[in-house]
């Protein structure tokens, strides 16, 4: 039972972690809390349906194509919406509210085009991996492997590559980075590409894990994702990774019956938010955030 919950927690946690990194790098560089991120994920999940179900492409390649499609959406919105807003020097609040509006537009466009009916990916529903006492559905198996690879790649990208270094520099101090000769406009586009790729990946994985989903998919995950971002400290990519995994584990393990009977599974989101509030009370800047402005 415990091992099963642990693995479930890792699956949920890695989806949250990937998405949280996508939210966090954008916040870190642009001070933009992207409330539409959940709907970027939904877009990715539905592009996955298009490639996987409608066109019959295997799920792993469909996921890659969906990631590319979401990255294209992400860059297109940067060029048509966010960049013009920044050039009008829109502040934190305006940007946040625009993202709220964008979330409404995207979600209901998806509703309008794809319809409200539940969707499923074409993966064998009877395939079950059994490792010792742990049972994983085929979809969960794919999700956990892909997510693990994704997390390692993102970690390497941010830590080791020159693009990653520039992203971190930008998050630290945009003016200073610009003065040092970094083409900040390009790095910002790179940030949106990475954020979009992650949204597409997290969207498809969330769809795989939940087996059937509708256009609310991303939005229902958005608040736990934000919780993960805040838990790790807003703007810290590693923090977001850790926050997502911690939150996923906490949500699943809280239902463990030997832990004082365990929590009713319907209360899993409440556990996530409760944990968030608790951490903020003890450490208002988040686990990995810097204490400079609290």
């Amino acid at each position: 039972m415990f091992q099963q919950l642990l693995v479930n927690g890792l699956v949920t946690g890695s989806v949250l972690a990937l998405a949280a990194v996508g939210v966090s790098i954008v916040y870190g560089t642009l001070r933009l809390v992207n409330f539409a991120y959940g709907d970027y994920m939904t877009f990715g999940a539905f592009m996955g349906v298009l490639f996987n179900v409608t066109l019959g492409i295997p799920i792993v390649f469909s996921a890659l194509l969906a990631m590319v499609a979401t990255a294209v959406l992400s860059v297109a919105l940067e060029l048509t919406l966010w960049r013009p807003l920044r050039s009008r020097s829109a502040g934190f609040m305006s940007l946040f509210l625009v993202s709220v509006g964008l979330a409404l537009v995207l979600r209901h466009l998806i509703y309008l085009v794809a319809g409200p009916q539940p969707r499923t990916y074409a993966v064998d529903p009877y395939k079950v991996y059994v490792i010792d006492k742990v049972r994983l559905s085929g979809a969960q198996g794919i999700a956990i492997v892909v997510a693990a690879v994704g997390i390692v790649l993102v970690g390497l990208l941010i830590a080791r590559t020159s693009v990653g270094r520039m992203m971190r520099a930008l998050a630290d101090d945009l003016q200073l980075t610009a003065v040092s000769g970094v083409r900040t406009g390009r790095v910002i586009v790179a940030v949106w590409i990475l954020s979009g790729l992650l949204a597409g990946l997290a969207g498809v994985l969330a769809g795989l894990v939940q087996t059937s989903f509708n256009p609310q998919l991303g939005f229902t995950l958005l608040l736990p994702i934000f919780a993960a971002v805040v838990l790790g400290g807003i703007g810290s990519a590693y923090g977001a990774l850790t926050g997502g995994l911690a939150l996923g584990l906490a949500m699943e393990l809280s239902t463990w019956p030997e832990l004082a009977g365990g929590v009713d599974p319907t209360y899993k989101p409440v556990v996530a938010f409760g944990l968030l509030v608790l951490v903020l009370l003890l450490r208002p800047q988040g686990l990995f955030g810097r204490a400079r402005v609290v």
């Binding site: 809390v33 919406l81 013009p84 807003l85 009008r88 829109a90 502040g91 934190f92 609040m93 305006s94 940007l95 946040f96 509210l97 625009v98 709220v100 509006g101 964008l102 979330a103 409404l104 537009v105 979600r107 209901h108 466009l109 509703y111 309008l112 409200p116 608040l223 934000f226 919780a227 805040v230 807003i234 009713d264 319907t266 209360y267 989101p269 409440v270 938010f273 409760g274 968030l276 509030v277 903020l280 009370l281 208002p284 800047q285 988040g286 402005v293 609290v294």
Partner: protein, 320 residues
Amino acid sequence: MSTIASFGFWSFVGIVAGIYTLFALGVQVQFGFAGLLNFGHVAFMGIGAYTMAILVVKEDLNMWVAAGCGVALAMLAGVLLGLPTLRLRADYFAITTIAFSEILRYVATNEDRLTGGSQGTINLAGIGRTAQYDGAWQSFLGKVERGLNVSGDVATLILVWSVAALAVGAVSLVMRTPWGRVLKAIREDEDAVASLGKNVFAYKLQALAVGAALGAVAGLFYAWQFSFFSPDDFAPLLTFFAWMIVILGGLGRAWTVPVGAIVFGVIFAGTRFFDFPPFSLLDSTERAYVRLIVIGLVIIGLMLFRPQGIFGSREEMVLE
């Protein structure tokens, strides 16, 4: 008669706009005056409505007393929410308040014995027994109808807007008092206010509580108007509608809120009448999607082209 010309339909739009005025006025007090990014405002509406309904159905309390309890409990919830969270940075505060409203919604959905669960207030008295909490409201409404010799819709319209006008007037007056000036000063520069010996934290708590009370009153009218509600009526979307109304009208002024609410009501209801191509090809669910797309586009357009709202002044307050 087509809907667009029907009086009943527009009085319904008017009632909803009145309820939204009260609701959004709470956001105006908290954000427009005190600068607090409360994104969980809908929770106060839910607390007001649920407290009233539960006390009436389960404890057989007088409805007006129960309504008072609802408002009081919402104010208490505002203080309890503020105590730990007001120390947080603005963006953390915003996210924590959404989390607060969502926690309450999950609790209301899952604690069926207390709230009737996801089925809503119809289950309040237990399965198989239909629960009603608005008997006293209906009889009061009847008296108003007979006294003024008007229809039920018009009576509700008059009642909602009287309370809304009273609230807008009261908030306008209060903002001219020293208390209101301190709030606005906190919005501009809280360190400066603190250096003058004012207890910034206490003022913010009070602003949260006042906003919560307005939200709860909106919740009461919501409950009475629809005679039934469920946890999903208090989703985060409603909070954003309130924000849109406040920004649409203009920040930092009480009288702009009803303007925003009416414009919002007309946009929201008006999109029902898109009966020309290509919209005539869509069915009613699809038109509901189009309505929310329009709302989203209005929010984006407003932020792009007129961030101070219709009547807001750039000198008084601009969104940053």
